[in-house]
């Protein structure tokens, strides 16, 4: 795959498009006033004319592709009808979690959009109900994952300080809802032997993704007073009279990018054991893409430091 581009399988891209547009068109048909509010809310996150691209963007967490890669890893092909239900469930589950986060984090969202939470949750459950009868063991997995998702959301809202062990334990858990379709594939094909390794992999992938976002957003997070592990580390490690920005420029960028590089190498090793060629290829793309971003940041920061030093010396002398 070339840098800055992911050539998604057209079948996958089509599944995502169908699931997203079906969600929105059903809402349009059945609850037009609510649909209007939901589209306004969506417009704050993505291009509403192509809301599917929000999920297929090269920088997105690939939680819609993972169930397909998992199924393909042991069957050679994916059952597209089954996968469509999983994609539809995941899209609605994502909208549920995203909207709830926006409400609890105090982001701008019209109260008139919030009743959509009930619709998204109903759609999520209905999609899985098409794949699993009542009483199927999958529903125990569903209950434990969805409960854990609510628990971590609640805990996360109270966090004021994040240590390394907090981050290692909780960062992957924040996206735990996205493991539902992974579990669904394992339960559907009676391959629960694969579940622990895929769940462990997902946890690490979500952790990498969270750290990458926290790194790229550190300036915005710092200005908004948000708590991230990176900013907590910056406060702990910087000198008493040093600013967060100065620590980031001198050390934080190198520390964070090295951490991300180590974790990405572990992810690629883990993915090789999962027997998914597509997943390994995807990670190699993300690895190359991030390395290019990191190099650009380092080079630009170094150029800026040299320039500023010269300016300061000239002003002094």
């Amino acid at each position: 795959m070339p840098p800055n581009d992911i050539r998604w399988d057209p079948t996958f891209a089509s599944l995502v498009r169908r699931a997203v547009f079906r969600t929105l068109s059903d809402l349009d048909a059945q609850a037009p006033s609510l649909a209007k509010e939901v589209k306004k809310w969506l417009g704050s996150h993505c291009d509403v004319t192509r809301p599917d691209e929000y999920f297929t963007h090269p920088q997105s967490l690939p939680f819609l592709a993972l169930p397909i890669w998992l199924e393909t890893s042991f069957r050679g092909v994916a059952d597209l009808d089954f996968q469509y239900h999983l994609t539809y469930a995941s899209v609605n589950g994502y909208y549920f979690v995203r909207m709830l986060d926006d409400v609890t984090d105090g982001h701008e969202i019209s109260p008139s959009a919030v009743p959509a939470l009930g619709i998204f949750h109903m759609n999520l459950e209905r999609a899985f109900s098409r794949c699993f009868d009542q009483g199927h063991a999958f529903w125990d997995f569903f209950r434990s994952v969805w409960t854990a998702s609510a628990e971590i959301t609640s805990i996360d809202l109270k966090v004021v300080e994040i240590s390394e062990s907090d981050f290692l334990q909780s960062s992957g858990q924040k996206a735990i809802g996205a493991t539902l379709p992974i579990g669904a594939v394992c339960y559907h094909y009676d391959r629960c032997d694969l579940l622990p390794n895929w769940l462990s992999f997902f946890d690490k992938l979500a952790r990498w993704n969270q750290m990458k976002d926290d790194f790229l957003d550190w300036g915005k997070d710092s200005a908004a007073g948000r708590t991230t592990w990176l900013l907590c580390e910056a406060r702990r490690r910087k000198l008493a009279d040093e600013s967060i920005a100065s620590w980031m420029g001198q050390q934080g960028v190198y520390w964070a990018t090295q951490q991300l590089e180590v974790w990405m190498n572990e992810l690629i090793q883990d993915a090789q054991l999962l027997s998914s060629h597509d997943l390994v290829e995807y990670l190699r793309f993300r690895s190359t893409d991030f390395a290019e971003q990191a190099n650009t940041i380092k080079q630009s920061m170094e150029a800026w430091t040299v320039c500023l030093g010269a300016m300061a010396r000239e002003a002094k002398g």
């Binding site: 996150h45 993505c46 291009d47 691209e53 929000y54 999920f55 963007h57 090269p58 920088q59 997105s60 967490l61 939680f63 994502y94 995203r98 993704n209 969270q210 976002d213 790229l216 957003d217 550190w218 300036g219 915005k220 710092s222 200005a223 600013s243 967060i244 920005a245 100065s246 980031m248 420029g249 971003q293 650009t296 940041i297 080079q299 630009s300 920061m301 150029a303 800026w304 430091t305 320039c307 500023l308 030093g309 010269a310 300016m311 300061a312 000239e314 002003a315 002094k316």
Partner: protein, 67 residues
């Protein structure tokens, strides 16, 4: 580093609006933090505008993807 220059360093690393202003109107950006730019300073800023723009492209990007 003198305070004003430390502030300039910090703002370029952390403030998206300032990076944009520095790239489009460096004189106004510098004055906003109390630096009266000499011709040499403006020339120096001009020489690293590409780097400031690159930083803005990466750190200033508004997420249009599923985090």
């Amino acid at each position: 580093m003198e305070n004003k220059y430390q502030q300039l360093y910090d703002k370029v690393l952390s403030d998206s609006a300032f990076r944009n202003q520095l790239a489009s109107d460096s004189r106004a950006a510098l004055r906003s933090i109390g630096i009266e730019p000499s011709a040499e300073v403006l020339k120096a800023i001009d020489s690293i505008k590409d780097d400031v723009t690159k930083l803005e492209k990466i750190f200033g990007e508004v997420h249009r993807f599923a985090p």
